[in-house]
């Protein structure tokens, strides 16, 4: 008995034709999705701000001893969204029971998008605003309104900066 019967020969012939024919081209589309969520990063050149004692007549506005704070705000936001940097004082300047209104603290700003302002303990004050993603660098030079009316003491307060990238 031969290896292949007569009936099986036609099928083998078809199979041979099929395997020797050129491979059919086939395309497929794959969509790659990367989720780039909002991101915000804030850097301040100093975490302390000091004002030396001065005569109110000769130095009515005391500049911060260390000079301006350099602020770097990095944000990744939706296109056209407004990125905002604000600052809010936790209290008035306080030395025991004595207080100095936080509005005695003002600043002048430099850098695109950065603005001048007066400190508040109730409403976050805008330090800078920008449209869309990017890296923004600016400075904030603080001044302390001097006065004969202040009681002596070492006054302190904390400032909280918040960068929001919607």
């Amino acid at each position: 008995m031969s290896l292949f019967s007569r009936r099986s020969l036609p099928f083998l012939a078809l199979a041979a034709v099929a395997f020797t024919a050129p491979a059919a081209a086939q395309t497929a589309t794959a969509t790659l999705s990367g989720n780039l969520g909002g991101l915000a990063k804030l850097s301040l050149s100093s975490t302390t701000l000091s004002f030396p004692d001065s005569n109110p007549d000769t130095v009515p506005q005391i500049p911060a001893a260390g000079g301006a704070i350099v602020i770097t705000a990095k944000a990744r936001a939706t296109a056209g969204a407004t990125v905002t940097l604000t600052v809010l004082a936790t209290d008035d300047l306080r030395s025991g029971l004595d207080t100095i209104p936080i509005t005695a603290l003002t600043w002048t700003a430099s850098g695109a998008g950065f603005v001048n302002g007066t400190m508040s303990r109730q409403v976050p004050q805008v330090v800078g605003t920008w449209a869309g993603s990017g890296v923004q660098t600016g400075t904030q030079m603080f001044r302390f309104q001097n006065s004969w009316a202040y009681a002596t003491g070492t006054y302190s307060v904390s400032l909280v900066y918040t960068l929001v990238a919607p």
Partner: protein, 170 residues
């Protein structure tokens, strides 16, 4: 087969929805800065003139008290603790003298105006006399008008005395 197709569609729609801005969360970063301000004790005294003159003595009967030609304007500025007692005093360097002749410094008196100024006072060469006082920090202005008791007993001469003002903010 149908079930697999519908599952794929649901997954695709879900992924599309999650990737839209409406589902993106706002990113936020914070930073803290501590502020320190030193306010030390200070005192500043400004007197409008550094000499006081009296007109040539007239008849003591008709001019028993001589008024200085002008009043002094006194500005006091002090920074102290909330309960600190700020004082302004004046102390005479001695009696009014003209060579060996003297007029007792107690003949030099004053009246004052101003919120924290004493209404009147008498000069003294041994004990500083209060001119003004107030509690806590602040700035005040007042005036001080000197008078000299006139007397037939005075020896003629040009009399002088030095007055030293001291403002203290503890």
């Amino acid at each position: 087969m149908k079930k697999a197709v519908w599952s794929g569609i649901i997954v695709a729609v879900g992924m599309l929805a999650l990737s839209t801005p409406a589902f993106a969360q706002a990113a936020q970063a914070t930073g803290n800065v501590t502020v320190n301000a030193n306010v030390n004790a200070k005192a500043k005294l400004t007197i409008s003139a550094n000499n006081i003159s009296f007109p040539t003595t007239g008849d003591p009967d008709s001019n028993p008290v001589l008024a200085a030609t002008s009043a002094l304007t006194i500005d006091v500025k002090a920074r102290t603790s909330a309960s600190g007692n700020v004082t302004l005093t004046v102390l005479a360097g001695g009696d009014l003298d003209s060579g060996s002749a003297t007029i007792a410094i107690s003949n030099l008196t004053w009246t004052s105006t101003g919120a924290v100024f004493n209404a009147s006072g008498t000069s003294n060469a041994s004990t500083a006399q209060p001119v003004a006082s107030f509690a806590g920090s602040g700035s005040y202005s007042g005036s001080q008008s000197y008078s000299l008791v006139n007397s037939w007993a005075y020896t003629t001469g040009n009399y002088t005395a030095t007055l030293t003002y001291t403002l203290t903010a503890p």
